[in-house]
C-alpha cells in the first residue's frame, strides 16, 4: 500500500529538478490536504482500513527550529531533573522538593504541604493554567501545540533519534524503499531500541514523582520496588514509544480534542502561521535572470512541505492539522534568502492582516481586544482568589462532627450531654500542643475521652491528624433554661506554645424548653 502513497514515490532523478537557481524542487505532495483538493487516488486505499501516511520531515534550520530545541531542552530537563531536587524539611519528612505522596495523602512542593482535603489549590492552579492557555492561544495561536505540548516535544525527540540512525529525509526514504539488508535491519533496530529507552526513561522519571527518587531508583534497579512502580514504568514506556515514536501527528489529528476546542479562542487578530498568498501567487519555478514582475515570490520548491512534521502544505490555508511549529517559516525564509526575495512569505500574521494586505498597508498587532481582556481578568481573579486562599490558610485544621445517634443523652442527674468527634490536623512539620475549649452555654462542662483533664494540652504529631471524642454536658437546671432544642456552641482550638487558633461553630442539642 505504501507504493500508492504519493509521498514515498521517489526517484533520485527528481532532485535534478530546480525550482530556482540552487533551489531543489522537492517531489512531494502533502499527505494531508483539505477535502476539496483530495484526489481520488489519495483516499482510495480501500480495504477495511486506511494506511498510515508516511511522513519524512526534513530537518529545518532557523529561528523556530532553534526555539523548538531550546523548549525541548528546558521542558525535558524539568521533567527528568525535578524529582531529584532535594529540599530539607526536617522532622523526618521526605526531603524531595516535589513529591506527590499518595501513601500519606499529601502533595509536597518546597515549603508548601497540600493535604488531600486541600486539593482545591491544585484545582485552582489547573484553572489558572487553562485560562493561561486560552489567553496565549487567543494572542499567538497554537504555540502550546507547536512548542510545549509533551506530545510535540517527545515526537520531536523521536524524529531526531530517527534522523540520527536513519539519516534525514532522502536517506531515510531510500532506506525504507531498499530491501531488508543488514544495514536496514540494524538501523531500524537501533531506532526502535532508542525509542524504547527514551520511553523507559520517561516512565522511570514519572514514578519518581510519587516516591523518594533515590530510594526508588535503587529499588527499581535491584528489583525490590513495589509492583505498581514497574507497572507504571511499563505503561509509560509503551505509551511514550507508541504515541511519540509511532503514532506521532496522528495523536494531534485524531485523538486530541484541543485542536477542535481552541477554534473558540481564535479570532481575526490572533497570530497564526500563514502563507501570504497575495505575495506568493501565482507560484512558479524561477529561472536565472527571469524577472519577478507579474508573478509571485513562491518558487514552488515545496521546502515548506518537506519540513512539515504534520504532512500538510501550509499554502493550502489554515488547516486543523497545522500545529504551528514554525518550521515551514524557517524553510521558506531559507529559500527566500537564496532567491533574493524578502523573508516572510510564510510568517506569523493575523487573519485581519492577511485580508487587508490585498487592499492596503498591514495593521499592527492588536493585542488588547475584548477577548484578551476577558481572559486576563479571569486569570487575575482566579490568581487573586488562590493567593488569598493560600495566605489565609491556617496551619491547623479543625473539624467538629456532632453525634447524630443519639443527638443527646439524658444523664442520671437530669443533665443533658452531647458528644462531638473533633479532628485536629497539625499541618506543621513539628509536634504541637493545643487546648480545646467549648463556649456558648453557661455551666457547660467538657470532658475528652482518654484525657482525664479536659483543660490539659493535647499533642498532635508532625503533619498528623488526631481524632478526639469530646463530651459537653449541661446540668439539669441549666438545660431547662435552654431556649431551643438546638443551641449554638463554639469550639475553639488554641495552640499552647504558639499563636495559631481556629474555631468552629456547632450546636448543642437538647429536648428543648
Amino acid at each position: 500500500m505504501n507504493s500508492m502513497d504519493p509521498s514515498t514515490k521517489f526517484t533520485p532523478d527528481d532532485f535534478l529538478v530546480e525550482a530556482a537557481p540552487g533551489v531543489v524542487r522537492h517531489d512531494v505532495n502533502p499527505v494531508r490536504q483539505p477535502k476539496a483538493k483530495k484526489t481520488a487516488a489519495a483516499d482510495a486505499s480501500a480495504g477495511s482500513w486506511a494506511a498510515k501516511p508516511n511522513i519524512y520531515p526534513k530537518l529545518a534550520h532557523g529561528t523556530f527550529r532553534n526555539a523548538k530545541w531550546i523548549v525541548m531542552l528546558v521542558t525535558l530537563g524539568i521533567y527528568y531533573v525535578l524529582p531529584w531536587i532535594r529540599f530539607d524539611r526536617g522532622g523526618g519528612l521526605p526531603d524531595q522538593f516535589f513529591l506527590i505522596d499518595f501513601a500519606n495523602q499529601r502533595l509536597l512542593l518546597g515549603p508548601l504541604e497540600i493535604w488531600a482535603q486541600e486539593f482545591y489549590y491544585v484545582t485552582g492552579l489547573l484553572i489558572i493554567s487553562a485560562l493561561g492557555l486560552f489567553l496565549v492561544t487567543s494572542v499567538a495561536g497554537r504555540v502550546w501545540c507547536g512548542y510545549a505540548c509533551p506530545q510535540t516535544v517527545w515526537t520531536d525527540l523521536m524524529i531526531a533519534v530517527e534522523r540520527f540512525w536513519q539519516g534525514d529525509r532522502n536517506a531515510h526514504m531510500r532506506l525504507d524503499q531498499s530491501p531488508w539488508t543488514f544495514e536496514k535491519i540494524w538501523k531500524k533496530t537501533a531506532t526502535h531500541v532508542t525509542w524504547l529507552l527514551i520511553g523507559l526513561l520517561t516512565g522511570g522519571a514519572l514514578v519518581f514523582y510519587f516516591r523518594d527518587a533515590p530510594t526508588l531508583a535503587q529499588e527499581l534497579l535491584t528489583g525490590t520496588a513495589p509492583t505498581v512502580a514497574y507497572v507504571f514504568v511499563g505503561i509509560f514506556t509503551l505509551s511514550t514509544y507508541v504515541l511519540g515514536g509511532i503514532a506521532r501527528e496522528q495523536v494531534c489529528i485524531y485523538m486530541c480534542p484541543w485542536p477542535r476546542i481552541q477554534g473558540a479562542m481564535l479570532d481575526h487578530d490572533s497570530l497564526w502561521i500563514a502563507y501570504r498568498d497575495v505575495r506568493g501567487e501565482p507560484r512558479a519555478p524561477h529561472k536565472k535572470g527571469q524577472t519577478w514582475d507579474g508573478r509571485g515570490d513562491c518558487v514552488d520548491c515545496k521546502a515548506c512541505v518537506v519540513v512539515c512534521p504534520m504532512g500538510i502544505d501550509i499554502r493550502n490555508g489554515p488547516q486543523l492539522e497545522c500545529i504551528q511549529c514554525g518550521l515551514c517559516i524557517d524553510a521558506c525564509n531559507d529559500i527566500m534568502d537564496k532567491v533574493g526575495r524578502p523573508r516572510g512569505l510564510i510568517a506569523y500574521t493575523t487573519e485581519r492582516n492577511l485580508a487587508t494586505a490585498t487592499t492596503g498597508p498591514r495593521d499592527g498587532l492588536r493585542l488588547i481586544r475584548p477577548r484578551t481582556i476577558l481572559y486576563t481578568v479571569a486569570i487575575a481573579i482566579a490568581g487573586a482568589l488562590m493567593l488569598w486562599a493560600m495566605l489565609s490558610r491556617s496551619s491547623i485544621d479543625v473539624s467538629v462532627l456532632p453525634d447524630r445517634n443519639p443527638l443527646f443523652v439524658k444523664l442520671s442527674d437530669g443533665g443533658i450531654r452531647n458528644g462531638y468527634t473533633v479532628k485536629l490536623v497539625n499541618k506543621h512539620q513539628v509536634p504541637r500542643r493545643f487546648k480545646i475549649e467549648l463556649t456558648g452555654i453557661d455551666g457547660l462542662t467538657t470532658t475528652i475521652v482518654g484525657h482525664d483533664d479536659a483543660g490539659a494540652p493535647i499533642e498532635v504529631g508532625p503533619s498528623n491528624v488526631k481524632a478526639l471524642k469530646v463530651f459537653a454536658a449541661v446540668p439539669r437546671d441549666k438545660a431547662k433554661t435552654l431556649a431551643s432544642d438546638s443551641t449554638p456552641l463554639t469550639l475553639t482550638v488554641t495552640e499552647v506554645d504558639g499563636n495559631a487558633s481556629s474555631s468552629r461553630d456547632t450546636s448543642f442539642r437538647s429536648p428543648g424548653p
Binding site: A40, D43, N405, P406, R417, V449
Partner: protein, 291 residues
C-alpha cells in the same frame, strides 16, 4: 463488490457498491489502521483473558482459568492477612488487664475500633446503632448503670449476660407485686406515686406519695435501698435519678410494680472470644458514662 469499484464524483471517494433508490450510495470511508490494530489487540487480549481468568458459564459451573483466580479466595486471604496483622494487638489485649489497656494509647484505640465494629454486629439490634437504647433496653451512653459501670463490671455483664440461664449471669428478678397478690392495687398506686416523687418527677399526687412511703420502706428498700439509690449487686436500679428504663409515667411505674421487671441479655462469652468481649467493654465504657 468483486470487480466493481464505483468512485463518487463529488468527493472522489470509492463507494461500498450498494445502491438504494436508484441513486443513493454509501461512501467507503476506511478506519485508520491503528484503530484496526487496537481492535485486533483487544480480541487477542480477550482470548488471553478467557484462558487465564474465570470467564464462561458452563452447565454445571464455569471455566476456572489457568490462574485459578477467585474473588472469594482473594477476600478470604485478605481477611486472613488482616487478622494476622491484628494478632499482635489482640494478643496484647488478651494478656493485659482491662484497666491497663486503657492506659496504652495504641491498644486503647485498637480496642475502641474493634469494640465499635463488634457493637454494630452484635449489640445494636437491641441497644441501637448509637447505643441509645429504647424502652426496656438501657441507653449505654448515660451514666446510670443497673449492674455497675466500671470496666470490670461492664465486661462481666457482657460476658455472662443477664437472666439468661448462664450460671454466672446476673439473675436477681424483681417480684411481681401485683400479679402475685403481694400488694393491693390501691397500695401499688400509692407506692408508684412515692417512687416518682423521689426523683422529683412532675405531676405527682403528693398525698398518695406520702401514703406510699411506708410501703416502700417495707417492700422495696431491701433491694432499692432506703434512699432508693439502688443496688448494683442486685441489679436494682437507682430510683432517685432522672433515668427510667421503662418510663416515668404513673402507668409505666405502676406496671413495673404489678408485673415486675426482668430484662434479659445473652451471655456473649458463649458467642464471642474474650478479646472481643474486652474490646466491647472498653468501647461501651468510652461512650461517656463509664465509671
Amino acid at each position: 463488490m468483486a470487480g466493481h469499484k464505483h468512485i463518487d464524483e463529488v468527493t472522489g471517494v470509492e463507494t461500498t457498491g450498494h445502491v438504494w433508490d436508484n441513486d443513493l450510495r454509501e461512501l467507503n470511508k476506511p478506519l485508520p489502521r491503528w484503530w484496526l490494530y487496537v481492535f485486533y489487540a483487544c480480541c487477542v487480549w480477550a482470548f488471553g483473558y478467557w484462558m487465564v481468568y474465570p470467564a464462561w458459564p458452563t452447565l454445571s459451573g464455569y471455566t476456572q482459568g489457568y490462574l485459578g483466580y477467585s474473588q472469594r479466595a482473594q477476600v478470604m486471604s485478605d481477611v486472613k492477612e488482616a487478622k494476622a496483622a491484628q494478632d499482635t494487638y489482640r494478643q496484647a489485649i488478651a494478656n493485659a488487664a482491662i484497666t491497663d489497656v486503657k492506659g496504652k494509647e495504641d491498644l486503647f484505640q485498637f480496642a475502641l475500633a474493634g469494640g465499635a465494629a463488634a457493637f454494630g454486629d452484635n449489640c445494636s439490634g437491641c441497644h441501637g446503632r448509637g447505643a441509645q437504647g429504647a424502652v426496656g433496653y438501657p441507653n449505654l451512653n448515660d451514666d446510670d448503670w443497673i449492674w455497675g459501670g466500671s470496666l470490670e463490671q461492664i465486661e462481666k455483664s457482657i460476658a455472662y449476660g443477664i437472666r439468661n440461664g448462664h450460671e454466672q449471669a446476673h439473675a436477681t428478678p424483681m417480684p411481681r407485686f401485683g400479679l402475685d397478690g403481694i400488694l393491693e392495687p390501691a397500695v401499688i398506686s400509692d407506692v408508684a406515686n412515692y417512687v416518682r416523687s423521689i426523683s422529683g418527677t412532675e405531676q405527682v399526687d403528693t398525698a398518695a406519695a406520702e401514703r406510699g412511703k411506708a410501703t416502700f420502706a417495707e417492700q422495696c428498700a431491701a433491694c432499692h435501698g432506703e434512699d432508693a439509690k439502688g443496688n448494683e449487686e442486685m441489679g436494682a436500679p437507682n430510683l432517685s435519678d432522672a433515668i427510667w428504663l421503662y418510663g416515668s409515667s404513673q402507668e409505666a411505674v405502676t406496671q413495673s410494680i404489678v408485673t415486675g421487671r426482668g430484662g434479659a441479655m445473652p451471655a456473649w462469652s458463649t458467642r464471642l472470644d474474650p478479646v472481643t468481649v474486652k474490646m466491647l467493654a472498653l468501647y461501651v465504657h468510652s461512650l461517656g458514662g463509664g465509671k
